[in-house]
């Protein structure tokens, strides 16, 4: 699963190699999958409530937040970059959505405008895209290192979110029927065929991104630019455009995650999503992507997000303290990176 899914081509030879793979290699390649299975089995023994449909769905709706962020993080990491600003963009977009739900005061006209929910969603995503594009432009055109750029935007977005609310939280996001702006809680609470909307959103985004990566020319450009920027550039790949696009996508996905989170919590606070960027990076890494770029799949990243989510929720269910949860999550991340090193190191990529 750690093979780039951009492998549009397959051959009989590849199929043969697939069947002759040794058990250890198979375990290494499918490590995120086996880890997830192991987590589910262990917690099922420890708690009778763990492996129930309702609990799995609840846990999945928690995973949705990290998962959506992780998809954005994946495309950024595939390009060879990093995006530390996703948690802050999530918070800023959340409070902006919250503010829009409270109504926009147009002082000169003396009226308060209450935009409908669909407009709130569109405006919020546009804000995310704008912030992401800012990251991308600074990184691609002005060659500011991605780490520094997104660190700066992380602080700025968080600061603006705090300024916006004066440190407070918007608690009333329900809207009022007479104003025609109800329905914000749909994202976080409603279900379609028994599945939470947030999980469906995650699934749809994962499928779309997966298709983009494996089947579109943009996907191929992205893997090439992340694998060797110089070679991609000389092969005519518009590397700068690819970079700006991935950060913009990451910004939009952060905004979507912000909407889902504030809908789930029915509140939008400026401190929401703190350190979520690190969880997203962890999900991508556990999913087998290389932080140096060019390697990674949506499937792996989704497994990574579920490993983290199911592990921490499982620990909550069996009553382990949240301090220990942090320790466990950290250990899983280190283990995942160690495995990545073994897998990619063993292949002997010589420069």
């Amino acid at each position: 699963m750690t093979q780039p899914s951009a492998n549009g081509i397959s051959s009989p030879a590849a199929a043969v190699r697939g069947t002759t793979i040794s058990p250890i290699k198979l375990l290494l390649k499918g490590r995120a999958f086996f880890a997830l299975i192991a987590i589910i089995i262990v917690f099922s023994f420890l708690s009778p409530n763990y492996l129930t449909v309702s609990n799995l769905l609840i846990m999945s709706s928690h995973v949705a937040i990290y998962g959506i962020l992780a998809i954005g993080m994946l495309v950024v990491i595939l390009s060879g970059g990093i995006d530390l600003s996703v948690g802050s963009i999530l918070a800023l977009c959340g409070v902006v959505a919250g503010a829009l739900m409270q109504g926009v005061k147009l002082t000169p006209l003396g009226v308060i405008l209450f935009p409908p929910v669909w407009a709130v969603v569109v405006l919020t995503c546009a804000l995310g895209a704008l912030l992401g594009a800012l990251n991308g432009i600074l990184i691609a055109w002005f060659r500011v290192p991605a780490f520094v750029t997104t660190l700066g935007v992380m602080y700025m977005a968080r600061g603006i979110a705090l300024l916006q609310t004066n440190g407070l939280t918007y608690n009333n996001l329900a809207g009022r029927p007479e104003l025609g702006n109800t329905g914000f809680d749909w994202l976080g609470f409603n279900r379609l065929f028994g599945v939470p909307i947030s999980v469906l959103v995650l699934a749809a985004l994962a499928v779309l991104t997966g298709l983009m990566l494996s089947r579109s020319s943009f996907g191929r450009w992205l893997y090439a630019a992340g694998g060797n920027e110089n070679a991609a550039d000389l092969s005519g790949v518009p590397v700068k455009r690819v970079k700006i696009t991935v950060y913009t996508l990451s910004g939009i996905l952060s905004a979507i995650a912000g909407l889902v989170l504030s809908s789930q919590l029915t509140s939008a606070g400026p401190t929401a999503g703190t350190t979520y960027e690190l969880t997203a990076i962890a999900a991508v890494v556990i999913g087998g992507a290389a932080l140096t770029g060019g390697r990674g799949t949506v499937r792996g990243t989704m497994l990574g997000a579920f490993v983290i989510g199911f592990l921490s929720d499982g620990l909550v269910i069996i009553g382990v303290s949240s301090y220990w949860q942090t320790v466990f999550t950290g250990a899983v991340i280190v283990l995942a990176v160690l495995m990545n090193t073994i897998q990619y190191g063993a292949r002997g990529i010589r420069q």
């Binding site: 780039p4 081509i9 005519g236 790949v237 060019g294 010589r350």
Partner: protein
Amino acid sequence: MSDAATSRPAGEVVLAARNIAKSYNGVRALKGVNFDIHRGQVTTLFGENGAGKSTLMKILSGVVQPTSGEIVLDGQPIVFSSSTDARNHGISIIHQELSLAPNLSVRDNIFMGREITGPTGVNYAEEERQVRRLLAELEEDIDPLTPVEELRLGQQQIVEIARALSVDSRILIMDEPTSALSATEVEVLFSVIRDLTAKGVSIVYISHHLEEALQITDHAVVLRDGNMTAYAPRADIDLEWIVRNMVGENYDLGSPPTGHDFGPVMLSIRELTVPDPAGGGYNVVDRMSLDVRAGEIVCIYGLMGAGRTELLETVAGKLSATSGEIVLEGKEISHLPIGERISRGLALVPEDRQRYGLVQTMSVGQNLSLASIMEFTRGIFTSVKLERALVQKSIRDVTVKTDGPDVPIGSLSGGNQQKVVIGKMLATDPKVILLDEPSRGIDIGAKAEVFRILAHHAAAGQAVVFTTSEVNECLSIAHRIIIMRRGRISAEFTSDITKEKIMAASGEAMAA
């Protein structure tokens, strides 16, 4: 180190390679090599790119460990665990690729890793005094406090040499020490070498400049394809002997394709000027003009730093020119991005295939199709079927030996990797194909195949421009040979020219 001063008869073997073999990822770079290094004498290693010279030198200097075989120092078998270990035994190496830290000063580079320390930390004054003495010996006027990145390439090479000299080695290995030096600087280096050998220091010398190496050497060792093919003292050999042993008997890189007429001018470069991309403040390409016609093969020959790479990179769109025009099929293209130039029919095969040619994380097939993605994209999705057809055609076209298109690119040999880079650009169906050192680091068989492919494409009406730093390759398939020197064309020849004239025009030949 101190026993270098004890008296021993000249010509005694100080260091010997015994049946040394080395494999990288299953590729055998050396296949059991024996040779001796004599005290106070110069032993030169001759061989083509990829013959195994650099690998052998890295083994002798402890940088890499041999897969099998042993090194004998003063009659005792020895294993060098690292280059520091080898240096402690009096063996040091001047690397082909400069191993200097560009941000540090000349002084700090020369004493990197073995700083002279006193009670108050590093004794910079003493270091500086020693550096000044060394540089004076090399007759080079460089301030020891200059950052290395501000020096030109030749001066950097001098610093590299000074660093090796500063260690008081008894065996000094020089891997292409003169590739960026001017003729005067080479003379100075040679007089330093003569001084060293007079003091009993043994020199191992590697150079592509055969005539130059013959001036200084006492013994010649020839490597070919990982084997030692010949060994003889200076008195018994001449240039012809070296070339014969280097390239083997049936050495043929082809001849210029005939039987087709040249078409119209496809690529026209007008008064092109390109500043040094490293910010050196001078022009690496200086008001250069060149026309290439359809079906024509042009070879650009020149030394390192002559501006060949920068010329091709500017034409391809990687660097930008300060003035001049690049005209493809009558249309000015200097303002276009790389991708647009490729789709208009201009392709560049870069010199360094690992850094600029291949995406190591992708498969052979994905590398081959990388420059033609839009060719097999229908709507928003790529077509697996069309891509597969394109890749299969490329593999046949450039005869890549691979277990199929899905294997990792790193599993191919150097020659086949190079063919993938060439195939990738040929797949874009270019009208003009530029190749920067297409034969670098590939074996002789692959080299001949690369030239055969190029000749074939020229005969089909494509314009081909390639650069080389090996004279033999100029005299293979090129219809026209351009000699570049300091950013300009210093001479232009047809294919019936001799090697000597080419080397003279490039500024390579010494006072011979």
